[in-house]
Symmetry: C2
């Protein structure tokens, strides 16, 4: 048999020990904050019914589904068979659809409102490119069953504390409300069925500028004058003027409450700001949406929003819901770069021993250092121990000792 390639499958990657230390610490930090804030972790299977996935609001993600072949007699392939014929399950592409299914399946066993933590891998058959993988970790909190913006405030507060705990400061939370933007779009003369398409164009303002948005909307067939008026006016809307621009007093009051409350909580460590052109892609948002930007990193590090109509799709009764997701993989990327700049002090030491040493005694020695907080790696010494010691230093060990010879760790620094 020919030698198999040892590469991971296209678009996925192996994670090496140094990164796993960073990932585990990050996950633990976030999880501890989430739990302290009254959220409860749940887990759903990576596999879901293929019809549930295909029938969902997943948009572009549905084109990137990994589907699982039926097994045994159930598999009946023929010319032109589609994934729907051949497959009964698929891999989840996000954690929100599984949460909706989970809530519907387990509602009577859950606290109300239900505050969920989900941390787990999702799968998308993305075209592989730098920094974008086909399997990646998502890290979400959601509150189901609270229609008021106290839920938004809790999610923003909890996510901000997690970001502070990770060591991020001075990040900016942008907030908008789909209800306000929709009212404004309609008021400007667009039709209800145009709202989605107008939002898609407006969402590109960051990349193509106001003129680009105008061009795109005009190309879509909307009146050039109406488009110009809409884009220019939207850009000028501020938190102070929004209440006079659209007639949605409740949504405006909620927006003021969220921004004012979060600003006081932030106490200058981070900022929250209204951004009337913030869209966020997912079609299922119904109210406030958020996005967190950080320093000169060219992408958001967290985002979320209210989606009041999704849970009802799978449940006997609908339930209001808000979610906030931390960009786990993006933050790992930032932390790994920092790590490269400045290695953290290691608690890892090597204990060298002879091949025929009394291992019970060697381990007993190691345990004393473990109790003192060291991570002790036992290494059988070879004739040229110098080479082995150099390798330990290269790998970032804090120090080493030799069983039967040293009684204390020899630090490398």
């Amino acid at each position: 048999m020919e030698k198999m390639s040892s590469k991971p499958v296209r678009g996925t990657r192996d994670i090496l020990p140094d990164e796993m230390v960073v990932r585990d610490q990050l996950e633990q930090t976030i999880l501890n904050i989430y739990r302290a804030h009254g959220f409860s972790r749940i887990e759903t299977p990576a596999l879901e019914n293929v019809n549930l996935l295909l029938g969902s609001d997943g948009g572009e993600n549905l084109k990137m589904l990994f589907t699982i072949l039926k097994r045994g007699d159930k598999l009946k392939a023929h010319e032109g068979s589609t994934p729907g014929d051949l497959c009964d399950m698929g891999l989840r592409y996000d954690l929100t659809l599984p949460l909706s299914r989970f809530y519907s399946n387990n509602a009577e066993k859950l606290e109300m409102p239900f505050k969920a933590i989900q941390i787990g891998n999702v799968f998308r058959a993305e075209r592989p490119q730098r920094g974008r993988f086909r399997s990646f970790k998502q890290c979400d909190i959601d509150i189901i069953g609270d229609p008021s913006v106290t839920a938004e405030i809790e999610l923003i507060s909890t996510t901000s504390k997690a970001l502070l705990a990770i060591g991020f400061e001075d990040f900016i939370i942008k907030v908008n409300d789909r209800k306000l933007l929709t009212a404004f779009i309609l008021q400007q003369g667009f039709k209800p069925e145009d709202v989605g398409s107008v939002c898609i164009s407006l969402d590109k303002a960051d990349k193509i500028g106001a003129d680009g948005v105008k061009e795109e909307l005009t190309a879509k067939g909307y009146d050039a004058g109406m488009v110009a008026d809409f884009v220019d006016q939207a850009a000028r809307v501020t938190l102070d003027t929004i209440g006079t621009v659209v007639d949605e007093p409740e949504a405006v009051a909620d927006l003021h409450r969220v921004i004012e409350t979060v600003t006081r909580m932030a106490a200058g460590r981070y900022t929250i700001a209204f951004d009337f052109t913030l869209i966020r892609g997912m079609g299922y948002y119904t109210g406030q949406v958020f996005e967190v930007s950080y320093g000169d990193v060219g992408y958001s590090i967290a985002g979320g929003g209210r989606y009041d109509h999704m849970i009802g799709k799978y449940s006997k009764q609908s339930a209001p819901a808000v979610g906030f997701s931390i960009g786990f993989e993006r933050i790992v990327g930032i932390l790994m770069e920092r790590e490269a700049d400045q290695k953290r002090p290691s608690k890892r030491i090597a204990l060298f021993h002879a091949a025929d040493a009394d291992m019970a005694e060697v381990i007993h020695t190691a345990d004393a250092y473990r109790e003192a907080g060291y991570q002790v790696n036992l290494i059988t010494q070879k004739k040229k121990m110098g080479k082995q010691i150099n390798a330990c230093e290269e790998k970032g060990y804090a120090g080493f000792l030799v069983y039967g010879r040293d009684t204390v760790v020899k630090p490398f620094n």
Copy 2:
């Protein structure tokens, strides 16, 4: 569209908050012990090349592969298409095959010997039955690159300490050596090609007894006298006699060294014992094998062994390897039963607040309790707060307080 079922797919399950607390604590406890003992965590994708999976030593597991349909133009289905035609990837069925691939892919970046931690889900299309699921967590440590039994001793020591840290005592580690058993089988007159088949029958001694094993082997066509002699003699072999029964002085010395060393380390908290009839199913073991039994639990809670020929299959050069796996799901089951008997003290409290309260102040109050180690859930009070308070008590909260009214937590107990 008809309402979709909200059940998880066949053979999988949703994990509720109470169990997630137990699972997270268990994983963290095990991971801390593993890291303290010099092991490094790695992660591989859940997806692997379907040919790698199908070409592996997976035995029965290969019949239970979940395979992923090719996408786009690559999918060309026709009458009689097989999974091999239709699929390019599959879900991993264990963590050992991915470790072999990982080691081959990353060897030059790893410490030697490489001491790996892997904790992750694997997938098998098992016939669903009580306590057996199609997606479950495995928890493995492996040492690659150490041919000596110091590796076995380290794995046994580390696994034992993890089990002690979980709160298990008085467990029994059974140990055998495939080399000794193979030598004995050949010595009894069986042919080299019969060894696998003889082992499969001997492995059933627990269930069908010595007479059942004899019957099965005779039915397989082996001489009845030879079979009777073999089974009776095997049952009588002890650690004291093994050295006189087979001519494998090195393996016998290694066995003595492991058992004697571990016995001293155990200091009476657990036991290690030679069991000449211990087989462990996987065909790839080449040396010592271990299995841990605990109390009256009718299954092993951990197991492993040496597999010196597997890494080489995917690598430029072969490397000796030993692994030890903790039965994560089984241990969760035991801990959940204990939990039901005796609820642990909770650090979870509720802070009730009015719908229009100043949330910055409410959260400020909650934070003081969070800093004191509580997990604080904010709840908007309804008219009938009594009902809400009762719900909290039922859900196992430690106590509650009402913002603006109480200054200290009212404990439920």
